[in-house]
Symmetry: D2
Subunit: 391 residues, 4 copies
């Protein structure tokens, strides 16, 4: 029996819960995308978005999913046959490399156990070995949504620098942007790939490329066939606040509001909140006697926690039970960890009590699925959350 | 520091959380309240509302708060100087009696300790003593919102019948309607008073009078001066789906949707859900070492739970802390119990995980306010809720 | 065949078209009406509303229709048997007098032809004759919604002053507030009665009493039985931003937004716009060879225009045709002029092109109903509107 | 001075006015795009969309603008160097050909005067001359949004068949779908390109490819590098109601509602309505003494009308004046006709009175811009619209 009353708990690691303020901003009449009112809006959101990426360079907004922004990052800067260093840190990293292969890039995919992020020493080592600078780009996923493991982007940047290698550095920030500290300029990222439906608290439908001067220069030399994803048309048209083709007008209204909300809370407070919720969740997981997929404390995620189900328990059967009994959506295990992990999203528009409700649903669900000793997790989380309040 | 991110927890015992479906139904253009589209809507909601009161008689819809419907019940049926038997079961019962006095009704207010509902034996005894039938009406509050105590309306009805007394029977169902089983016709209630903003899951702004033939007959004989609250104008105009003055059009759109939702869930399931949440809450309260205000298990409320703070702790300081730290609104103690109790609303559009979040906020708040042993309440609630799922 | 595509034209003289901004403001979660966020909102709207009435005295907000605010004006200030001077300027003036009679006020109703407002000389004459000051109140409707005739309130005030009479002066501003210049303080009105669903561009559900010190003093002496409508409870509770019973929370969100919008446009610009639309409409009516109900140019209304159908043509059949063929709601003839007039609302959230669409629907409808010479009305309106733009 | 009150008139030929029902459908919480509720939604809209294209074959939904669907049509079916026959019927046809060239297709662009659609005899002639079948695709724009000229797709189909040529036939239906009769299957179109923001009455953000078996077969043989636009991944995932990457969830809610609305009105009635509004608009244009850009009555558009400004008058200055004085957005002249034409959109959620308001704004604007004889246009339109009602 599915109980459906009260609000659904959408605790997948994105799309996330959209604030009422953002939904109402979206729910306004469409305006002329070639008129003066739109131009003012366009300029405003294009400027405001920079503060979220912590960049002073242009950010491109595509009316497309994050997958489109992945594609745009590659096809604007690289040419068929270019060597690219990628890391199999999880399902999305793997999908990005598959996408790259479809564009005939020569992918060197460093294998991984899905429990660790990109290892900076491996980056340095591999780049040092590339004396001829055949590697044109290094790609990493900041927060791997399939595993809840964070790659230390600054450390990877330092590794690239230590190797003195000129490769472009591209980072997927789709599920970290607006949730986990990210610094496009300071970390000298060349292309940052973002999306609307995670920390930015919007419905899906927008995705982003923050770009460096170096990436821009590369885009002038590449030989890919592209049109929709072209940066040059965008940048030129964006100058006046417009877009080269019809933008997703109403999501831009929402973007303006969501950026306002992030700044009202304060980006550093937003990051601290996510970190706190990540820690509370991990304490709950340990109390239940379960294991967090992420193995390295330095790589724990504030955006989501992937949890390993004990042998003999199917994670998807558990998720189905939680959905039916408690009207909560949890993230499924993807790829290599399908059936073995479930994911708890704790990012975006979220607070302590909603986290407590979320963990309560997991705890009850675990018991109903036969893990009778799954107790004390909510208690452990509450202890931590209450303590965090005292401080 | 007030943390405001994620959804506010509105856990006062009304107004309650309005479902998105209902809010979006309300958020539609106003229509001509004298046109055919409105007539169809008017007929539909007037008919549908009967099913919620479990009556086949007319229900009056006022564009007004519940206080207006209280006034309407009295001024349509009684005349200045009429004797009315009322019971001080809590703040709202007391306010209704004050309102009655302002209309120069002769109120006999049976005192109470605010921990019990109306005692049927007292009703019977008092009415038997009224050999001349000077008492024209008996008024009771079904679910006393200030205390979380339920008066057993059927037992009161039986007491009136046992006494063979012809007094009108009026019941305030404001915070029970759509949450706790209520039967206007079967229990021979003459006027039931309801409101939009509790179990009906609407914003405040509508209130109701369900009326019996006997009440209607009384309304023809009374000598009160009234206009806005007149039933006769309403009933006549309602026949064609219209209202004698401008109705609150958009709330009627919402009312149609909320009644649809109640029936989708099934009224009996709705009542069972509220009862389950009441029991879970009481188990939490006991685990915290606190006391529920309601003293009689037969009178426990599924709509809200009033909790006594231990001596030396101010309930309002606690509520303030919970609001500031956890962005949750709890109900204040009113009248006699001001500062001594806080109230947890668990009625309306609500589910297990939101209750868990709510109780988590209370539990953490209690500890932060110095009640360091306030532990295990959420656990106790989860045990009960999980068990209820098994069955 | 009813065509229903595109937006319905709601051109009754209220409820009026609600701006998207206002609807979205309303479409936000209900908050605790006893919490600090509500207190701030309450204080803000109570203060802002004064600017609309042009008063520095308190304005009362009832969760009720305008009829309730009519009742409140009378029952707070007068006692049964008090003599009140009223004027039958139209249906709403007549209804207000009926309501007053139900409260056993002694109404002297000056008859009228429904084509003129209150005649100031009659007021002066009648008051001069009342040497003993038996008349306790003079009541007038500023903009009579049933006729489109405006009573010159300042002139009536001057007449009262000329007669040196101490009667209270009460004015219904329901369909003039926010549309036609109105000055509660300057014109020494004692009670102004307003509603949300006309010039304030909100859905129905709120109504207002702006009150003078003199009215307030009278409210301390009156002997009416009242509760819901009591000013004293309201004024006391309003001081802290709260209300004595549950307010219509979400409409207050909307009220805040609509007042903001009125000030953004500028009240004097709002009045000028209404006046211009009234004139454009009257020019159309004359071009069609029809007659405006309002007989005196000094009393023409900027809020609505009532139009006389020629003999042999039923105004309601015409309205039905317009609704079915053009999806436009026009106002029906009420009371004495039922079947004889239709009313075109041009108040509230409205502009030149919507007026042109409105008049086009009337012009086509007139022809379809057999008035084949009804031509040139839209042209005449456009000539005027275009010319007004040049200036 | 910009007057902003009442509703903005968005009369560009898309994005169009979104119905409140559709906006409210969109304004609902985001759901898990991998859960059962989404699967049901996905299946439903994927099936329903077929009825709009009049096809029994799959329709692909991209979270992207129409430009993306243009690109998808080409990159799924053609390979670099393939010859494609295109026709310069206006700005969008020209842009599509530019996009094709960016993908290194060998474009033969038949020049045009922007006042006519694709000439079927030219198609036949050109294809007959292509004895070796080097031409792999013929591309046409059904309703050219920049000119208001309709290409007779059936006649072009017949021409291809008469030539016995195997080229793929691709049609841009972006501004005709849901406004002008279109039959993907019956006319044997291989790829139809559509978008959400025109006749489908949605905000921008979705675009479509309806595909034939022949197009699908071609997609298996092509050598383009593509990922986001791949049909094969889509088709496979769509089978279960899901999408290969995050879909624009909330726009899909809206799509479901808008298709429902189109069927409620009846597609044939929708087409007739657009045709009627096109004719009314052209009559107005002629009465003003202006010229419609479309030269051939068989190619007039029901979706929009492009109007030539007389020599010496700048169309954009006129549009600016109309926006500032009457708060109406008209479409700008694009490319070759920039400054020379303005475009009146009359497609989507629209009705007679809104058209009358629109034409009134144009008529007043023309006069204010110095075309003093621009009179009688609205009259001519009303005559026609009223007459159409009689029939």
């Amino acid at each position: 029996m599915t109980i459906r009353t009260g609000r659904h708990f959408l605790q997948i690691p994105g799309p996330t819960n959209v604030p009422d303020r953002v939904m109402r901003a979206i729910d306004m009449p469409v305006i002329d995308h070639r008129g003066p009112e739109f131009a003012a809006l366009g300029k405003e959101v294009l400027a405001a978005l920079k503060s979220i990426f912590k960049t002073e360079k242009p950010v491109i907004i595509f009316p497309a999913s994050g997958t489109g922004a992945w594609e745009a990052a590659l096809v604007n800067t690289l040419s068929p046959g270019d060597k690219v260093l990628m890391f199999e840190t999880g399902q999305f990293a793997a999908q990005w490399s598959s996408l790259a292969e479809r564009h005939r890039l020569d992918i060197e995919l460093v294998p991984g156990d899905w429990r660790h992020g990109v290892e900076p020493t491996v980056v340095e080592e591999r780049l040092r070995a590339d004396a001829n600078h055949e590697i044109k780009a290094v790609c990493a996923v900041h927060n791997e949504t399939s595993t809840g493991v964070v790659t230390r982007i600054k450390a990877v940047r330092d590794a690239i620098d230590a190797a003195g290698h000129p490769a472009l550095f591209m980072v997927d920030t789709i599920s970290s942007l607006g949730s986990i500290d990210y610094r496009h300029d300071e970390w000298k990222v060349d292309v940052s790939v973002g999306g609307s439906q995670k920390g930015l608290m919007l419905p899906p439908g927008l995705s982003f490329n923050a770009i460096s001067d170096k990436a821009l220069a590369a885009s002038g030399r590449n030989t890919m066939l592209l049109s929709y994803w072209r940066w040059d048309d965008m940048l030129k048209t964006n100058e006046s606040g417009f877009f080269p083709y019809t933008p997703a007008t109403n999501l831009l209204y929402g973007l303006k509001e969501s950026i306002t909300m992030l700044h009202e809370e304060g980006l550093e407070n937003v990051f601290a909140r996510h970190a706190r919720h990540g820690e509370a969740t991990r304490r709950a997981v340990r109390a239940w006697g379960l294991e967090v997929l992420a193995a390295n404390p330095e790589e724990f995620s504030g955006a989501l926690t992937a949890v390993l189900m004990p042998d003999g328990h199917d994670a998807d059967a558990f998720r189905k039970l939680v959905l039916e009994r408690f009207d909560m959506s949890l993230g499924t295990g993807l790829g290599k960890v399908a059936g073995k992990v479930f994911r708890i999203g704790h990012l975006g528009h979220f607070n302590d009590l909603t986290l407590a409700g979320t963990l309560s649903g997991v705890e009850m669900g675990l018991r109903l699925t036969g893990l009778h000793n799954a107790r004390g997790g909510v208690d452990a989380a509450l202890d931590y959350l209450a303590e965090a309040q005292v401080g």
